[in-house]
Every structure is written in structure tokens, then in C-alpha cells.
């Protein structure tokens, strides 16, 4: 060991220890967390498939028979509904779990040295595994409902990436501020429910426009909206309008929502990097 160079130690950070270590940690933590979620339940991983299915049955019943929203006007509405719920469910699960994640790992944060970023990343990864399982159900239903496969289906990973990046950005922001501002936990659960209705999950943007232009304009600003609109066009209905087209409110709101998407991710990275070195002291 002779001749080992002294190297400066700068204390903990978001990424201390390099990418390789960070990646191994994330995989390990997320996989064990994922296993743990279903361990001890009678149906095990089946729950991951059953949960969206059951929720889907309830919502389908409510929206096609009671409220009669999209059954007539939106093509392949039931399967679009299922897809959207699964997609939004991922965002909700990732961010709500992420809020308290750094505090939840208090024991190791305060006593071991590891890249702090591994915590929100593994939370998002765990949610992503769930999403992938759920998508298996969705794909089965795509065929059941007679959606014709198109080449755009291969763009699904792009959609997953967009969702994962946005969920991670929000998670980094929330988890790094939560140790200092505990109110965020409560605010976020309310906010994410509001966001559910401000995102084209149960409806589509063009349908919302035909009811209220002002409301549709607001929904169009939501950074998640273009992702859901893209998903609808690429996976379910190739005739659906592209985000930014006139039918969905034009280029202006679309660009704003893209800017918000980027800004929120950047804000997440910035706050996490800023807070990471001292996060152990604030717990």
C-alpha cells in the first residue's frame, strides 16, 4: 500500500464515490425494497398486477356508466384509462415515497458514507419496477380491446424515460427539502391528488378543451400533460393530436409545459446538490 496518495475529502455529496458505486447501490436498494413490498402477502407479485386492475375496474365503471365521460367520444377509452392510471400511479408512488425517503434512511445517512442521491434514485427505480409489471397488464388489454399495434409502440421506453426523469427531479426536490420543512410531506399528498385531476388521465386534453378553454389552457401548462398526450398518440390512438398542435391548445402552452418540465428537474438537481452535504446534520 506504500505510495498511496493522499486525496482531499470534501465530505458527503449527492454523488460521492463515483457513478459505478452509485449505480450498484441504487440497484441493490431498489430491488430489495421491491421484494420487501410484496413479501409476506399471499399473492406476492400478483398484487402488482391486481392493484391497477382493480382500480381500473372501479374507475371504468364510474366513468363509462355513471359519469359517461369518454366512452363515446374517446377512442379505446377503457384501455387509455388503464394506461393513464398506471402511468400516473408510477409518478404518485415514486414522489410520495420519495418525500420521506431520506428521513426514512436516517440510520444509514447519519452513520455511513454513501452517495446521497442513491436514496431518491432507488425509490424511483422501485416504482419503475412496479410500473413495468403493471404495463404487462396494460399490453394484454391493448390486444383485448383490439388496438392495432403500430411502430410507435417501440417508443414506449422514451415515455418511460420522460416519466422517470420527471419523477426523479420532483423526488430530489422533495426529499432534500423534507428534513428541513416537514410540512412538505402533507402538502405533497394533497398536491399530487390535485395534480391527478390537472393531468389528462381520466380525460384527454382535446375533450377538456371542448368543455372549458380556460381549464384546458391550465391543464396544458402541466409538465406531465405532453407526456400523457404523446403516450395516447404513440400507444393507443395514432389519430390523436400531437402535443403543441392546435387541438390541444397550440404551441405556447406546450412550450411553457416543456420549460416547466426542465425547470423542475433542474430545481431538483440544484436543491439536492445543495442540501446533500449537510443532510446528515439536519436529521
Amino acid at each position: 500500500m506504500n505510495g498511496v496518495e493522499l486525496q482531499d475529502v470534501h465530505g458527503p455529496s449527492a454523488l460521492s464515490g463515483g457513478w459505478r458505486r452509485m449505480w450498484e447501490l441504487c440497484l441493490l436498494i431498489s430491488v430489495t425494497d421491491f421484494k420487501r413490498n410484496y413479501f409476506g402477502t399471499a399473492l406476492g407479485y400478483l398484487w402488482s398486477l391486481m392493484r391497477p386492475l382493480l382500480l381500473f375496474v372501479v374507475l371504468l365503471e364510474v366513468f363509462t356508466h355513471v359519469l359517461r365521460i369518454g366512452s363515446g367520444t374517446i377512442r379505446h377509452y377503457p384501455v387509455l384509462l388503464l394506461f393513464n392510471i398506471v402511468f400516473f400511479g408510477f409518478f404518485q408512488e415514486a414522489t410520495v415515497t420519495a418525500v420521506g425517503s431520506v428521513v426514512g434512511y436516517e440510520g444509514i445517512v447519519r452513520k455511513t458514507q454513501f452517495p446521497r442521491l442513491a436514496i431518491p434514485v432507488s425509490v424511483v427505480l422501485t416504482a419503475l419496477y412496479n410500473l413495468l409489471l403493471n404495463l404487462v397488464v396494460v399490453i394484454v388489454f391493448l390486444f383485448v380491446y383490439g388496438v392495432t399495434p403500430t411502430w410507435t409502440w417501440i417508443l414506449l421506453p422514451v415515455l418511460l424515460l420522460l416519466m422517470a426523469v420527471f419523477a426523479l427531479g420532483a423526488s430530489m426536490f422533495l426529499s432534500s427539502l423534507y428534513p428541513r420543512f416537514r410540512d412538505i410531506g402533507i402538502i405533497w399528498t394533497v398536491f399530487v391528488t390535485a395534480l391527478f385531476y390537472a393531468t389528462p388521465v381520466l380525460f384527454t386534453l382535446d375533450l377538456a378543451r371542448s368543455h372549458s378553454r380556460a381549464l384546458a389552457r391550465l391543464i396544458a401548462l402541466n409538465p406531465l400533460t405532453p407526456v400523457f398526450e404523446l403516450a395516447r398518440r404513440w400507444i393507443i390512438d395514432p389519430t390523436a393530436p400531437l402535443p403543441g398542435s392546435a387541438a390541444t391548445g397550440g404551441l405556447g402552452p406546450f412550450l411553457v409545459s416543456v420549460a416547466l418540465f426542465v425547470a423542475i428537474c433542474a430545481l431538483g438537481v440544484w436543491t439536492f446538490r445543495r442540501e446533500a452535504p449537510r443532510i446528515a446534520e439536519q436529521l
Binding site: 493522499l6 475529502v9 458527503p12 430489495t32 455511513t112 449537510r278 446534520e281
Partner: protein
Amino acid sequence: MSMDDENFLLKASQSMQHALQRAAFGLDEGEHHGPIESAPKAQRAAVLQAPPVIAVQDLDKSFWIPRRAARSIGFQLRHPSRAARYRELRSLRGISFEVHQGEFFGIVGRNGSGKSTLLKILASIYRADAGRVRVAGRLAPFIELGVGLNPELTARENVVLGGVMMGLTRREAARRLDAVLEFAELRDFVDLKLKNYSSGMMVRLAFALMVQMDADTMLIDEVLAVGDASFAEKCLEVFRQRRRAGKTVVLVTHDMMTVQSFCHRAMLLHDGEQRFLGEPEEAVLRYYRLNFGAETAVGGDERPAIKLLDTWLETLDGERIENPPHGRPFRFHLGAQARELLPEPIFSFQLVNVDEVAVCGFSAALHDDDGEPRSLRAGETARLAIEIPVALVPGRYSVLCTIAGRPGGGDTVLHDVRVAEFLVMGSEPRPGMVSVHSEVHAEVLA
């Protein structure tokens, strides 16, 4: 500092060195403590020639302690300035030192002196406010045994996760699995979830994990504080091996015996300042001086109402001894000078063994010629001689002293101050806390 103080300190130092030499030269044949290695000066000098593996320069660290527990946004908005919401706690100031390759480096100090904070900065858990910290090679921090062990996971999963947490790659961690299980003697329980482990098994696993990490430098915070005597012995054995193997260890501890028997050098921290760096004997001495000094007051007073002057042990014949021989009663002497009037002082002592379990307690009041309780006026010195008739089993003991101004525990001026530490030498380990001489009659009936 008075002459008395100096004499006492000198004595304490000699006492410690004697204990050490005895242990080192095999005078203490007892297997009870195990052989203790000393750190001769030559060896220390050699270690200091080695290249540094940790270099710290002018390190500063403060914590901002919230004035209120609640951290709501409303509160933050009403008190926008940081000074209104937090008070600054200066935890470390101007710390500079180097640890050399193969060195056993001790950090001692009282609670809150900044020891653990320093270790956490070295381990990259906290970030320093100012100064420069450099380390060479891989550093494995053991701030607490079993951190990161997840009760919901099996031993196998925990070992891999723990290894990766500590900076190994997944493959390296998996390769160490066998060695860890071997060391922990838990091979049969590899796929059992940790929540089904006994606490003893858990400690064994955590310790094995720590030992098998095989880092270039180990940072250890008070591991000896957990576990039973056999666990402590296992720890010491690991320390010995690492010393022989020339590994670097930075050890934070309250256990002065460990410091003296293992460390090449020791640093004394007090209130975040580096008070001493050098020979462990001297560091230990200064540590005891702090415990005796003005800072031991109860209730945060600067100076306690009484000042301890000296303590010593002697045989019943009046010969001063450093360590009482096994099986023989001895006397404990203490001198204390009052700084203020103590109306009816009560001196209470507890004799505790190495596990901090009280073996016995004794107390004394001061009486005048008529047998009435008397006071101790400012400037008066009380001398106590207490005979300890019990035959202690071989081992290490300390005397804790509590002094109250009046009976019933009122006006406590000193509370559980460690005033003496000694070894009872003996050749054979015995069960229990005291040796009782008993006549045993046995006969065989036809």
C-alpha cells in the same frame, strides 16, 4: 494548579504505566484480561516514520441547533434570519493532525468534546466548515455496529448490501460472504431474516462484517461499548491482529485501558479544541485531569463547590499500592477541599467493574468529636480512608464518587466522577463479582 494536584497526576500516570508494564511483561498472569500489548517508544517512532494516511489541517465545524424542535414553514417564515432560529454550536476548532500508516491512533475526550464529529468528518458523513482533510486508500467507518443492517432481509442480503454501503463492489461483497459467516459463526443461518436473529447473533454478524471489510484504514467509534465480556475480548483480539498486520486504526473511545495498551499516539479533545496530541499515557493523564478539574460541576457551574485533591490505594498496613492483589482487602483514600460551605457533606462511592456494574457502594459523612454531623467550610480539606473488605475477583474496576452538600442527595456538587481505576491481579478467572472464602466439606459415603 497546586503541588497536590501535580503530585496526584504524577501518581496517576505512574499507576497507569505500572499496570501496563505488568500486563506487558506477563506479571499479570491472569487470562481474565488477556495479554495486553504495550506500545514501546521505539515502535511509536517507527510508525511515525511511515507516510501519513490521514492528514487534517485547521479543521472547523459548527452545527446550527434549532431553537425550536418544530420545523414548520410558518415558523421559518416568521423568523427569516438564521440567527433567530438557530444557535451555533462550535463543535470543532482548529484541529490539525496526521495519522501515519500502520498507526493505532486514539481520540479521547469527554462526552460532547467533538470526538464523534471528527470521526464523521473523516468518514465523509459530515462536511467540514473550514480546513482541509485528506485521506489515502479506502477508509471504513464503524460509527455504530450494525448500521444499515435491515431486519427484513436475510444475512446473505445484508452482507452484500452492507459491503456495498461500505464501498465494495457487489462482487467483492459477495466474495466476502463466506468469510463473514465463518467469523460470525452463523453459516447455518445465512438465509434467515435478521428479525429472527437473537441480539447476540446480530452483534456477531455486524462485527464480522466490520472485520472482514479489510479496509486500509478503520475508523471505530466506541464499539467496545456494546456486547458482553467475550465480545469485548474478541474486539481486542481483532485490534491485536490489525496492529500486527500494520493496519491503520483510528479509535474513539472512553476506555483508557484500550488507549494505553493499543494506541501509538492519542489526541485529547475538549470542547472542540485539540488539547493534546502525543503519547497515549500523557493523553490519558490529561483526560483524567479534565475529569477532576473544574468542569465536573453538577448543573453547569464553572467550578464545583468541592475540589478533589488526590486519591490512592493502600494495603491495610499502610503501604501505597497501584493495584490491589487478589483476595486481600485494601483501603481507598480520597482528599477533597471545599470551595464553599457544605452544610453536612455526604461522600458516596460506587465500585464498578469493567461492565460498569456496581459491585458495592459505600458512603461517609463528616462528624465532629461528639459524633454530630459537621459541616465543611470553604478552604477546609476532608480526608477519607475507606476500607474495602471484599475480595474482588480479578478484573478492572473504577471508583465513582458523588458528593452532596447535605443528606438525602440534596445539593449534589459532584456526580459520579471517576476518581480511581485499578486492576485486581489474579491468576485464575472466577465467576461472580467477589471471591468468597468458603470451607467445603465433601465426603464419599460407602
